[in-house]
C-alpha cells in the first residue's frame, strides 16, 4: 500500500495533509484529507474522527471551508476526510449528473453493473481506509468516531448502524436520514443497488435504526431551519422518531434545529466546534 502525498500545510500547529492511494476495494486511485494535530512527543497517539462529505464534494470542501482544524488541534484529534466516491473509472456518463456517479457514491456497496466494480464505498470507508489509517498514522487503536454532512451524514449513520463496534460516537450535520424516500436521491441509489425494495431499505438508515440491536449509541444532530433540503430530502424527524423507539432505548438522539441556517459550510463552521467537543468527550472515556 503506497501513499502519495499530494499536499501538506501547517495549520493550528499541526498539519493538514492530502494523500492519494490505489484502493483495491474500489479499484481506482482515491484521495483523502487527514489532519494531524500538534504532538508533544514523537510517540504521541491520538483518537480519530472520520468526516464524510456530502454529494458533489471532494475531500477539499471540508478541509478548506469548515475551519475544523482549530478544534482538531484543541481536542487533539486526527481527522480523516475521504473523497465522496470513486472517480475517473471510465464508467459511461459517470460525470454527467450531480446525483449519479462521481461524487454520489451514496456510501453504499453497489450491486449493479457497471458500478459494482468500483462503487464499494461502504467497504472502503469502514474497512480499507479504517485499517489504513490505523496502520499508517499515530492512532490510539479503536478510539475512532464518525461524523458527516448531508449525504455524508447518511454515510456516517450507515457506518455506525452497520458497524457499531467500530465507532465510539456519531454526529451529523443536516443528514440524509431516509435515502430511499428522498425524491432527489432515490434514482442514484437505484442506479447503484437496483430497484428491489428490500435492498433499498438495507441502505436506508431509518429502516436500519428500527432493527438496531448493537451497543448503546448517542447521536448528535444539527440542522438549519432554512435548509432547502430539510423537508423533502433529509427526513430527520422520521429518523429521530424511529431512533427514539429503538430496542431497549439503545439509541439516543440529540437534535438541534438552528434558526435561520442553511445547508452549507457557513452552517457547518458555526457548529463544528460543538461536534468536536461531543466526540472528544466520548473518545476520552
Amino acid at each position: 500500500m503506497d501513499l502519495k502525498l499530494i499536499s501538506s500545510n501547517k495549520s493550528f500547529g499541526g498539519y493538514q495533509k492530502v494523500f492519494e492511494h490505489f484502493s483495491p476495494t474500489v479499484q481506482c486511485n482515491m484521495k483523502f484529507g487527514i489532519y494531524l494535530p500538534p504532538a508533544e512527543s514523537e510517540n504521541e497517539k491520538f483518537p480519530v474522527l472520520f468526516y464524510l462529505s456530502g454529494l458533489t464534494c471532494t475531500e477539499q470542501n471540508v478541509i478548506t471551508k469548515s475551519g475544523y482544524q482549530r478544534f482538531a488541534a484543541q481536542y487533539k484529534l486526527i481527522v480523516v476526510c475521504p473523497d465522496t466516491s470513486p472517480r475517473n473509472c471510465n464508467i459511461p456518463n459517470e460525470d454527467e449528473k450531480w446525483n449519479i456517479g462521481s461524487g454520489a457514491s451514496m456510501y453504499v456497496n453497489a450491486q449493479q453493473e457497471p458500478w459494482n466494480k468500483h462503487y464499494q464505498m461502504f467497504t472502503y470507508i469502514t474497512d480499507e481506509l479504517y485499517q489504513l489509517v490505523q496502520n499508517t498514522f499515530p492512532v490510539i487503536q479503536d478510539k475512532i468516531s464518525i461524523s458527516g454532512h448531508s449525504m455524508g451524514g447518511h454515510g456516517a449513520l450507515l457506518c455506525a448502524l452497520l458497524c457499531p463496534e467500530k465507532y465510539k460516537s456519531v454526529s451529523l450535520f443536516a443528514p440524509v436520514c431516509s435515502i430511499s424516500n428522498s425524491p432527489t436521491l432515490i434514482d442514484g441509489l437505484k442506479t447503484l443497488v437496483g430497484e428491489e425494495k428490500h435492498i433499498l431499505q438495507k441502505w436506508d438508515t431509518t429502516f436500519l435504526v428500527k432493527e438496531y440491536d448493537g451497543p448503546e449509541m448517542e447521536i448528535l444532530i444539527h440542522v438549519g431551519s432554512d435548509d432547502e433540503y430539510l423537508i423533502k430530502d433529509l427526513l430527520i424527524d422520521d429518523f429521530v422518531e424511529a431512533a427514539n423507539k429503538s430496542k431497549d432505548n439503545k439509541i439516543k438522539t440529540t437534535l438541534f434545529l438552528e434558526e435561520g441556517y442553511d445547508h452549507g459550510y457557513y452552517f457547518i463552521s458555526t457548529f463544528i466546534g460543538e461536534h468536536f467537543k461531543f466526540h472528544s468527550s466520548k473518545l476520552s472515556v
Copy 2:
C-alpha cells in the same frame, strides 16, 4: 447607487452576504462580501474592518476559507471583503495572465491605456466603497480599520499610508511590502502605471513609509517561514527596517515569523483570531 444581493448565509449568529453594484469609479460591476455580526437591537452599530485579498482571489476566498466570521461575531465587527480588481471590462487579454489584469489590480490607480478607464482600485477602496459601506450599513462612523493578505497586504498598507486618517489600525498577512522590487509583480505594476521610477515608487509601500508624516500607526504582521514568496517578493524586512526609522517613530511594527507556515489560507485561518483581537482593541478606543 443600487446594491444587488447575490447571497446571504447565516454564520455565527450574523450574516455573510455578497453584494454587487455598479461602481462609477471603476466603471463596471463590482462584488464585495460583507459580514454583519449579530445585533442586540435594531439600532446597534459596529466598527468596520476592511480585508483586501491577494492576487487572483475574488471576495470568495476569504469569506469561505479564513473562518473570520467566528471572530467578527465575537468582537462585533462588520467585515468588508472587496473583489481584487475590475472584471469583464473587455480590455484585450485582461484574463490571460494571473499577474496582469483581472485579479491583479495591485490596488493602485492606473494611468496607462487601456487600463486607466477601469483600474482605479485605490480610489474605489478608499473612497467609493468606504463611503458606500458607511452610508448603507450600521456602521459607527470613522471606526474603520484595514487588513490584507499578500497583494492585499500591499493594498492595505497603501490605503493606510496614503489615507491614515481613514483607518484606525492595520494588520497584514504575508504582505507584499515593496512591489516595485518584486520580480513577480513589477510587470503588472508597470502595465498599470507605466515605467517611470518615481511613479512606480509612489505605489511602493517601503518608499511611502520613509516619507510618512501622518498620525501614529501600529502595524501587526504575520508571515510564515515556509512562505514561498517570503524572500523574493514580500520583502518584509526592508519595510520593517524603513518603518522602524519612520519620522518621530510614528510607525510601530510587530512582526511574527511563524515557523513552518506557508502563504495560504491554512496559515491565515490559524492567526486571524489574533488580528481581530488587535483591531478590536484599536477600534474600541
